[in-house]
């Protein structure tokens, strides 16, 4: 972070920590105190820890800036991007802690070393959070190019010895991919080519026997709950889709959703202010793409 500040000429930095991450905050604070004592911080550059008031949306960089400025955590319209007009209207560099943490090693050991960390022609290392139906969920540092199947094995395999049904390679907002695609090599480009995205680098594993409509509903519900409510498509669109899905699951729905979904998906993707709304319907749309028959089975059970 000091290096980043040096490069852009910043005098003040902030580390933004969610309020749930108390031990991490303490560790960070100790490290800052130590750096100040050793004269690294506090002269040309200093760092402050900002404990997030909470909310998934505050991970969106401009919503994060709004929260730092003591306002409602709602994303800004972009452009201007933070690099042009960020905190208090000043140009602001925003990076993930992971990115910043990689920089010293890269500088010290060189680009060749970094490239050599990848396999199958990919370069570098990546932290991936693995969750869902695996034996040992957690954060894994992998070589870029590792396949999803390999990563699932690293996490102890699919839970209860079941077979893999589906996975989200890049967290809730990425498209579901079916088990057949588990051989995909993990890197931004390859996963995109497979029809999803590496996104937040959080692999969610779904075992066989899971109802994909229910699973996808759950993910859309998550976005509905985390929508900040600033823009119409996301605020209203996520709620309406969730309510229609819940109706279907409760056997009191109808097929209207299937007709409406393409327009809704397009509208949310094209007109939402931030990434949350833009991708909020990806899970249900991709689930229907691969497991449409599960939806049909639900629809057949409607009471109306």
């Amino acid at each position: 972070m000091c290096l980043a500040a040096f490069v852009v000429g910043a005098r003040q930095g902030w580390v933004y920590v969610r309020n749930e991450y108390e031990p991490e905050r303490q560790a960070m604070q100790r490290a800052i105190a130590d750096a100040r004592k050793r004269g690294v911080l506090g002269h040309e550059f200093d760092i402050e820890v900002f404990v997030s008031p909470g909310g998934y949306i505050l991970g969106e960089e401009t919503a994060l800036l709004e929260a730092l400025e003591d306002r409602r955590g709602e994303p800004r319209n972009k452009p201007p991007y933070p690099g042009q007009k960020g905190l208090w209207g000043q140009p602001t560099l925003i990076n993930n802690v992971e990115t910043l943490a990689m920089v010293p090693a890269l500088l010290k050991r060189g680009a060749d070393w970094w490239k050599a960390q990848g396999i199958r022609g990919h370069s570098g290392l990546k932290f991936i959070g693995v969750s869902g139906h695996v034996e040992n969920p957690g954060v894994f540092e992998i070589r870029m190019g590792t396949t999803v199947a390999e990563l699932i094995e690293m996490a102890g395999g699919v839970r209860d010895g079941k077979r893999l049904k589906a996975f989200l390679p890049g967290g809730a907002s990425s498209n579901f991919l079916p088990a057949e695609k588990a051989a995909v090599e993990i890197d931004f480009k390859t996963i995109a080519e497979a029809g999803s995205m590496l996104g937040a680098a959080a692999l969610v594993v779904v075992a066989e026997g899971t109802d994909m409509v229910e699973t996808a509903t759950n993910v859309v519900r998550f976005f509905r709950n985390e929508s900040c409510g600033k823009c119409v498509p996301c605020r209203v669109g996520t709620e309406k889709v969730v309510s229609m899905l819940e109706d279907i699951l409760a056997r009191r729905g109808d097929g209207a959703l299937l007709d409406l979904l393409p327009d809704l998906e397009q509208t949310l993707a094209e007109t939402s202010i931030c990434g949350l709304g833009q991708v909020a319907l990806n899970p249900i749309a991709s689930a229907l793409r691969y497991w449409g028959e599960e939806m049909n089975a639900h629809l057949a059970k409607q009471s109306s």
Binding site: G55, R72, N77, P79, R224, N225, E226, S227, C228, G229, K230, C231, V232, P233, R235, V236, G237, T238, E239, K240, S243, M244, D247, A256, D259, L260, D263, L264, Q266, T267, A269, E270, T271, S272, I273, Q278
Partner: protein, 940 residues
Amino acid sequence: MIKPQKSTRIVTLTIDGREVSVPGGTTIWEAAKSAGIEIPVLCHDPRLRPVGVCRMCVVDVGERVLAASCVRQASEGMKVRTSSDKIHTCRKTLTELLLSDYPAESRREGATGDDMLLALARDYGIDRSDIAIPAGDGRTQDMTSPVIAVDHAACILCDRCIRACDEIQHNDVIGRTGKGYGTRIAFDLNAPMGNSTCVSCGECAAVCPTGALTNKTLTVQIRPREQLKKIDSLCPYCGVGCAITFHIDPDTNTVVFAEGRHSPGSESRLCVKGRYGFDYAKHPQRLTTPLIRREEFYPKGPLSFAVKGERRGKPGGLVDYGEVMPAFREATWEEALDLVASRLKGIKQRSGPSALAGFGSAKCSNEEAYLFQKLVRAVFGTNNVDHCTRLCHASSVAALLETIGSGAVTNVFSDVHNADVAVVTGSNTTANHPVAATFIKDAAASGTTLIVIDSRETGIARHAHHFLRIEPGSDVALYNAMMHVLIGEDLVNHDYIRDFTEGFEALRELVKKYPPELAEGICGVPAATIREVARVFGRANAAIIFWGMGISQHTTGTDNARCLISLALLTGNIGRAGTGLHPLRGQNNVQGASDAGLIPMVYPDYQKVGEPATQKKFEEAWGVPLDPNPGLTVVEIINGALKGTIKGMYMMGENPFLSDPNSNKVRKALANLDFLCVQDIFLTETAEFADVVLPATSFFEKDGTYTNSDRRVQVGRTALQPPGQARLDWQLVCEIATRMGYEMKYAGAEEIFEEFTSLAPSYAGLDYHNLSPTGKLWPCPDPASSDGKQLLFGDGFPTPSRRGKFVPVEYQPAAELPDDEYPFVLNTGRLLEHWHTGTMTRRSKALDAIEPEAVCELNPDDLEAMALKSGDYVNLSTRRGTITLKVRASRGVAPGNVFVPFHFREASANILTNDALDPFGKIPEYKYCAVKVAPAQPPA
């Protein structure tokens, strides 16, 4: 409002295949509009900072996703498509999403009929019954505000109301609460609107695109504008002079609703009075027939309990006509006018012209004021003509005339945004000049350092960077100390002092005696703060000074104003952008009524009585010899009535019983008059003493020009027909003049204005044509191409030496100081919702609903010490009288002080006030006298 900065850089982009060049910083939406391409919007309004939340305005700029054109800036070479299948689908889907939760009946569609969401639905051919998206749970309504209906179900969270409240009016009431789909607009911390800090300015309802915030119907049911008659006119209340469009129902002859209209002075903003206080004109108590006092009701005296000074029955605003009307009988116009003319003429013949006097009013138009003073001067034959300006800014004007040779403001209030520092002193601006206050608050939010000086912590103080709470009546000490610091620390403008002023030495010597430590002991402001604020003021490149009655309504009012003028002269803060002296004028036509000559010592345009050349000019114009002696002022005339030297009076629209100090004395004086003619729209407290009452027209029923605090001359237009036999004020003046033997005849207000401007050089060149639609600032040498002169005196002053004069003054305490018997200090003033003696506002449904009864304010600590709480009754007594009214706890009032608004006839503040006068301005000391507070029983 934060305005996006436009640069001089030009960018060229292509919109729908057309090349468009716009200044850098222009949004795509604006660029498209300039090229005649309309892009639909919901959340955007050109008056507001764009926020881009509804997404209706999306366009294709060839990026990954569509862009919201209302916030996206145009850039060089950008290729924009404003329509495509994709865009259409998105806009239509957004509309359907919003409609799915929309109430079946939109309150806006059912009233003004301009619901923007339903209009979009029509554009997209959406049939609401076809929408397959399920409806959400119904949301609540909030009907607690007397003027605005809130229907959360119709709220699309476009944020317009929030921005209007925060950034146009700076009232900061509305925000969003909740998250995601549960988000709602909220007032304060989610209070019902009627219980919130909302000041009912109505700006939010004016900008809301849906049925969520709508105006409640106050007269006849609100209907679409096209079904009503539109009259571009003005607000009848304060000196801000906001431009208004009244929407009239011709069938019922009623104002249905009012809207802000664009004008440089008000930028479409209004306050609660202007937006909702129009219905008084239709009140059933309007006078419709001439009235003559019945024989049995002589000798004259007060008729109603309140005016008699008795405390009976329930407190309430309006006079009971049952109490007063039996004293009068209806008469024909012939009989009434003949009687007025013959009685006035009789007094003139018996006792001489100086036994007559007239009170005009700052509520009347320039034309009426001009004609009225002409009547008194040319027909009565005396200069005993004055009006309520005497009671508000006479001292300011006296000081201004003495020092810089002109009583008018040197700059307009909206220029505050060019000031580095603004001083607001003795002005409860947010209540008394609410729309002017919006400009000051706006400046304070965007870089101007605001210094507020007052004995009360009023609404504007909340926006101040420095708030100085001074002891009442100690102004001179504070300002002398500030000048002490400015001179001592060499923060004065030597070039300016050398080139444009005189008398600096004397000032320097005098203020030497006022080190901040000494002033601290008098005014209560810590010496360090005085120094700091003096430095802030002294270092400003441009500083502007606003003041109100807190400066002028003292026996030292002229001295107070002299100090403020010296401050500005010392630092060279006159005549440039962002600088100036601005005494905020109270009534809608204070400036104009004074300009037109309703002042005993000057003819129209401040031409002095007693100067032979001037006298000759007016004698020639009016064709009669004129009295060379200046006349008496308001309080002097009342004293004359008491003594019997003034015997006959004609009052046009004034209500001195409630507005003049020491009402008990006024009561005797009015009863003592041989003859009193009152011309008004209601039977006022003063009219109870009248021999003849003439039913006149309200603001809404006549044409006329009015000059606001900025010197902006604007035209008010006839919106309603007068009730019954009520007649135009100027016609009544003509009738009386003619019947007294001086023929007066005009075709209309326009012709009177012509005569007035021909005699008033400051108004030269102005006429009804070039004053439309938004008026002109006088002087306006070139009305065809200019808005008039905004800045005055950049190159010297209209004084014989062309210099501004320093008039050093010593601090003097107020006339009546607190003592053991009367330990509190009484301060009087106004409330946001009411106007002066309440004649209009208490007959206005909405305004009366917000503040229905007399109240006074005390500091909660004082209340606690007396075991009183808000809502209890107290007796307030001074050496002149006692009133009983409810008390309200207010931290804004300092311990040891009592604040009483003077609007309430049932507990008239002026029973208490002291009629001691400022020796120069002859203004009474409304802002200071000694009072005692005692618990009282609620009225039976």
